[in-house]
Every structure is written in structure tokens, then in C-alpha cells.
Symmetry: C2
Subunit: 406 residues, 2 copies
Amino acid sequence: MYNLLVAQSGGPTAVINATLVGILQGAHTSSKVETVYGAKYGIEGVIEDDILNLNELMKDTQALATLKYTPSSALGTCRYKLKDWHMDEEPYRKIVETFYKYNIKYFIYIGGNDSMDTVDKLTQYCKIHKHDFVIVGAPKTIDNDLNLTDHCPGYGSAAKYIATTIAELERDTAVYNVPAVTVVEIMGRNAGWLTAAAALPRLNGGNGADLIYLCEKEFNIDRFIADVEEKLKQKNNILIAVSEGIKDKNGTYISEQMSSGAVDNFGHKYIAGAARALEKLVRDRIGCKVRAVELNLMQRAAAHIGSETDVVEAMLLGQKAFHSAMDGEGGKMAAIKRVSNDPYRIELITVPVDQVANHEKMVPLEWISEDGHDVMEEMITYLKPLIQGETNIQYENGMPKQYKLF
Amino acid sequence: MYNLLVAQSGGPTAVINATLVGILQGAHTSSKVETVYGAKYGIEGVIEDDILNLNELMKDTQALATLKYTPSSALGTCRYKLKDWHMDEEPYRKIVETFYKYNIKYFIYIGGNDSMDTVDKLTQYCKIHKHDFVIVGAPKTIDNDLNLTDHCPGYGSAAKYIATTIAELERDTAVYNVPAVTVVEIMGRNAGWLTAAAALPRLNGGNGADLIYLCEKEFNIDRFIADVEEKLKQKNNILIAVSEGIKDKNGTYISEQMSSGAVDNFGHKYIAGAARALEKLVRDRIGCKVRAVELNLMQRAAAHIGSETDVVEAMLLGQKAFHSAMDGEGGKMAAIKRVSNDPYRIELITVPVDQVANHEKMVPLEWISEDGHDVMEEMITYLKPLIQGETNIQYENGMPKQYKLF
């Protein structure tokens, strides 16, 4: 019997712990694993031998029921990128050392495309150095930008939060009888998947956002002002959704002038402030009442309005990753294949991690309207099933109950 | 038989429509009122004769069940302040004209302290000019700053949203193993009631916000930096809650340097940007990772995480206002008197509106810690019952169902 190690990486989501629960459920009902360990703060915990024994948690169904609905990474996370081992072998050696020390054969890494790069590099390294470890990925990202999977756990819950919030903001901004523009900035890095959720209130007869700008299309400031002026002729209160990553025709972020220029460990530009840039623009060029709203950390942490579909799929993908590891499928990521939209049906599959790592899957351009300020029916059809179902969160003292590992 | 007119005023809340529902329920079960009318966009709709007949809605229990949980003002709202009638009698004349035109005897105005000023001025005007109208107020404000009522409808739901969100942000910001500061800006104008809700996660064993600054106490920038540095010695991830209205010893808003200087119709300064000002300060003076989060419109519109206690009380206050009107109690506001904390019990009372208008009720200084960066047990004891109970919202296509009046 061998042991299993699990770690979580990248930005938090509402359901990354549901995937952890799925893995623990898999291990608990398997005769192939003796002990499940968790590394604190992602791969950094593996490198630094910061390891927790999760066997007690695995047996505690009450705790797992709460953990499933607790947002963010219970094990902590990191934004650590492994360099090519030829350039810096030290972290690889330390990882392997930790694996041997804890008699670990299986390692499951829950994360986004940068984490899949880690799974890929480690798999390659172990293969070359004849270490018999099975390293598997489980997907996670609110950005929904992972290749080879129909969608990503975390996305559905964030989209449900955004759809609900946009519907509420639509009511909120409609109350005054004076021209007003509200610009809502939505996460997603270079992909507009999340921003598209601002259209969903239309399923219930609302407008959702009146104008929706995804970062896949070039953002033109003059056209934007013309769009807003046109809408203001039709109605007083305009609600606008924009991706944080909207760029002009030169590929420069619209928020650039307000950004700090800081860069994270992956070399990603710190992007924020698209809504504020547009707020200023509307104030200067149109002169009406205008307000910028950033959904900020709330859109990835709001487990209280999570999608039950998303939670269940996140658990199932954890189980799938576990069984793939048991089957010796190293270098793979558990993924979702959509079989049909209505009724909504999926299959769980595995895909080669090297084709996921360092790719970004964008919204197809044909799902964005010709005029560039709305999404097409296909986008709504794709998104609708992912926000269905309300979670059965337990409340304590009027607040959602949470499970805290450390 | 006479008719009743109702209107909503001031900023939106999650439960202002529940008060409207309470009034409609009162009228529906009374033999004293023939027709209920609603004025669109607050008192402006009364002045401009923009009136809806609400009798169909009153009988539609299905619609009322949805409206009860629909955030913001279904009738629309305004920020219109009546001048003294000696200075400008025209609007008063128009209001009275509308009252006579629709055979209105009773007028209930749902709103905050500025709206209670309208109730007061109209009551005085009608008394002097021998118009036999009964004008009554029903309270509403997330700021919880109304005089003579234990608390205000809208506050409990906003506080529940903030408590839940702070608990989620606590999980979100705890995941990285590097020093980081997150500053969350919370509404409340000049009162810190809402900001205090950032302490509530402690009831469930969390930290809530590590540092909490209410606007009732002078905010000192140097002490703030010292507080943050001290906390960073104890732990890596610091969560800070600040009132939007924090001021320095001269009474200048901390956000002043970033504010637009714009003033609304009531002469209130446009205040926003306290968190951003502090974000910049932490970056400049401490130099660690720092992020500003504004809960913005979401904190007043998030009916999906409303407090059932708040919804029920909002309805009951609508009914109380209705019955006060029927009893001829003009110039009064329906209000809440707290009888006990545990078990939580209240009484519905009426209070003279002239003692509510233009007052702001602040958090007692003894409910704020000596060091100025936390709240005392009394504050938590006061707040805890108000966020209890989860609403029974109906979902449609994965989003809360809403009722839209026009």
C-alpha cells in the first residue's frame, strides 16, 4: 500500500475544497491508499516538507459536508512556478525527497493552467529520472480558460454569483429617474467567460447588463462612448459589464494607465481598474452620473451563492482524478466532456496535461455579437446549465458554516 | 372610504419592498381603504402626478411573495428634499393637489432620515393649511442611523451580507503564505453600524476582520500603520474593515484626496475611496501586498443573502405604519423597541417623526474598543439577532426570482 498526496494551487474558488472532498471520498473507499497527506500552500509545501495527515478528516463525514461548501483552499495555495529542471533542479529534488519520505506514490494537484504546468514538468522529470510516481491534475479556475475540458469547476459558482449580482444591481440601479451609468468589472484574466454571465438575468425576463464587453474582442473607446450614448437614448439607467482584461487594438489593457505596473510570480500583469478607467471616461465624455463596481474577491469566494451543479462536478472531478491516479494515468488531468445541453449531461474524462498547461481557452468569437457589445445565444445556452441548483449550506448564527483545516 | 398612497425614497435596501408588501397586506385586510396607489420615484411622483394603482398587486399573493424578496425600490426612488414651504410652496401645492385628485387621505412614505424630514414638513404644512391628510413614515436604511428606533429595516440584511462576505474573504485571503493586507470599505455614511458587522464571523470561531475602524472615532493614519505592522507580526494575512466615512481629527474624510468633491441633492458629500486611500498608504509605508475591496452597491442590494428576521420586521413595520395611519397618527414613524436580546423580542411602536428627521444615530463610543480598532461585546450582542434566519427565496433558472412592477 502506498500513500496519496494532494495540494491546491492558484487563485481560490468556491468549490476547490469540493474537489478535495471528492479525492478524500475516493481514497476512503479504496483499498489502494493507506494515508492521504495534504501539502500546505501548494507545491511549496511539498518542497518545504510542510505536510498534514488528512486521514482523520477523511473519515469525518460531518467535517467533509461542511468543507465541501467552504470557499477557497483549505490547504492554502501558492503561485509558485517550477523552472525547467535543467535550469534549477533543486526544487524537483526536494519534491521527490518528500514523496519518498512519506511513501507517496500518487500526487494530485488541484489548480489552473499554471498548476497543470507543474504536473507536466514533474511528470517529465520523474519519467526521465525513473521515479515511479503517478502525478495527476484536477482542474480549478473561475476563469474557465482551461483547454480540453468543456468547463472548469469554480466557473459555474462564480457565474451564478455574477448572474445573481447583476440581477440585483439591475434592480438597484433602476430606481432613480435620472441618467446614470454603472460599470461592473468582472474577473477572468484574458478570457471573457465570466463576464458573459452578466447576460443570464435575461433568462428570467430581466435585461442583465445592457452592454457586455468581453476581452476577446478589441475594445474601442470611441465606439464604447457611442454605445453608451445610444443606450441612454433608450433608457435612463445603463448597466455595463466589462472584463478586467479588455484591451485596445494594440493589445494594451484599457486599465493600463491606472495599473501599478506590478507583475506576479508568473509574469502576469496586475490588471485592475478597467471599470474605473471607463468611469472616468464616461464622466469626462458624457458627464452623467457614473459609478464603477468591482466584483473583486467576492466573485471567487461567494460560496453562499454557489452552484450545486458546480459543487457536484467539482467533487466528481476529484474522484475521477483519484481513480485516474489509481489506474496509473500519470500526466493526465480529469476533465469534463459535455454530452448534451438539454437535458444537461456530461462525461468525466482524462486529458493529457501537456496540452492543458500554458494554454488559455478563449470565448469563441462567434459567441460574441458582431457589434462587440453583447453575447450570442450560444453563450447563454452553454452557460445556463452550469449555474443550476442551489447549495444546501448549513447556517450557524446567521452565517454559512465553514470548515477550517488550520 | 378613502384611498391610500405609498411611496419609497432614498437609497435601496434588500427589504424596502417587504415594507411595501406589509402596507399592502394591511390595506387588503382593512375596510377603511378602497384603493392603494403608489407614487413612482418617491415624492417626485406625487408632485408630478406619476401614480400607479396597486389594487391588482395587492390581491396577487404570488406576486407579493416574490416582491417581498426583491431588492431595491419597486416603485422607484428619489433624493428630493422639500424646501421650507415659506421659501417654495409650489411642490407642496402640487402634492396636495395629487392627494385630492386621487381622494387620498393616507400617505405612507418609506425612507430614511431625509424622507422623515419630508413626512414632517408635509405634516406641518397640512396642519397649518387645514388639510385633513394623515402622513406617516416607515423606516428604511442599511445605515441604521435613524433616531428613536432600535434598528432599521435593511440593516440586518446588509449586515448579514457583510458578515458572510467577510467570513468568505477571511478564507480567501488566508490562502497565501506571504504578508498581505486586504482593506474592505463598508457603507454607512457617518455611522459605523454596518462596518461593525465585520466582527460577526467571530461568533463562528473565525477572526472576522482583524482590524475594524468605525467612523465614530477619529482615524489616525500613523496609528493605523502601527496597528497593521503590529498585526503583521502575529499573522500573514490581515483583513481590515473600514467605514467609508472615516475622518481625521479635523473631520476631513480620509478619502478626501481621492473624492470627486461632488455633492448630492441633500448636500451630502460624495464619499468613496477610503479603502483605496488606505491601500495606497499601506503600499507606500509598509510595502507589502495590499488590495482594496469595496462592497459597493452589493451590500444594499444582496437580497439573496437577506436576513429573514429583517424581512419579517420590514413587513411588520409596513403593517404598523398602515395601522397608525388608519388610527390617524399623522407625523409619526413606525419603529422598533427591543424588549430583550436572548430570547430576541421586540415591540412595534410609533415615534414622532420630527425627532427622527435630520438626526443621525451613531454607534455609542463605549461599543468601540479603547484602542479604536475593534468593537466591544455589546456591539456584537446588539447585532447578532438581526442577521438570524435565512430567506426562503424562490429560484428560477439558477437565479433568485424577482418581481418587477414597471
